[in-house]
């Protein structure tokens, strides 16, 4: 492998009303899947693969909870940036 590996991490607070329920979780997973990097999302002590809908739903993350987004791979920085923006935009939900 001659691709440069990088690691990125950031924390974001969930702002949308329903938290990481079906629709927001779906958006998170579909967005994470656009990147080559391995992406993990952590809520409290639970860690999930951000590309697994079951894993993300099991976090049960709610409004006000902190999500730690951690990526590893060539496009790790971009992945973490894009995902944190999605969370901060409240998953584009109208409220």
């Amino acid at each position: 492998m001659d691709s440069k590996m990088s690691v990125a991490e950031t924390s974001v607070i969930i702002l949308n009303k329903v938290g990481l329920h079906a629709r927001p979780a779906r958006l998170l997973v579909q967005t994470a899947a656009q990147f080559q990097a391995k992406v993990q999302v952590q809520s409290g002590e639970k860690v999930a693969n951000a590309k697994s809908i079951v894993g993300v739903l099991k976090l049960g993350a709610a409004r006000g909870d902190t999500l730690v987004l951690r990526a590893e791979g060539e496009d790790a920085d971009e992945a973490v940036k894009t995902l944190s923006e999605l969370v901060l935009r409240k998953f584009d939900e109208e409220e």
């Binding site: 899947a33 079951v54 739903l57």
Partner: protein
Amino acid sequence: MTVGLVIVSHSSRLAEGVAELAGQMAQGKVAIAVAGGTSDGGLGTSVDKIVSALHEVDGPEGILVLLDLGSAVMATEMAVEAFAQASQHPVVISPAPLVEGAVIAAVEASIGNSLQEVAEAAASAYTLPKVHERNG
């Protein structure tokens, strides 16, 4: 091309509703077909309808079938057997609960996962707590 989904239910309206929900999750990226009710529009399952639905979403990535209750399994097994005469593509019958399974499968298929990955994710729908217990 992604894994295709077939929704089998005793009720055509239930099948349509589940497909609508799963379709919203898949964002148009996944072929979803329904086989609900009997051929005369009553409650029950129809092998012919299931075979047609399998052909509708047939593709090289294979098909995951999600179903509601009891005899739907037998009808689906017969349909899969008939379908196999015409198509080489793999079909998996999911043990998942219908709604959760379909929604999970739709998301997993939408990101291009393999039939095995989609089937495993759907099967693990049982492990999702429906009501999260939260402390504080």
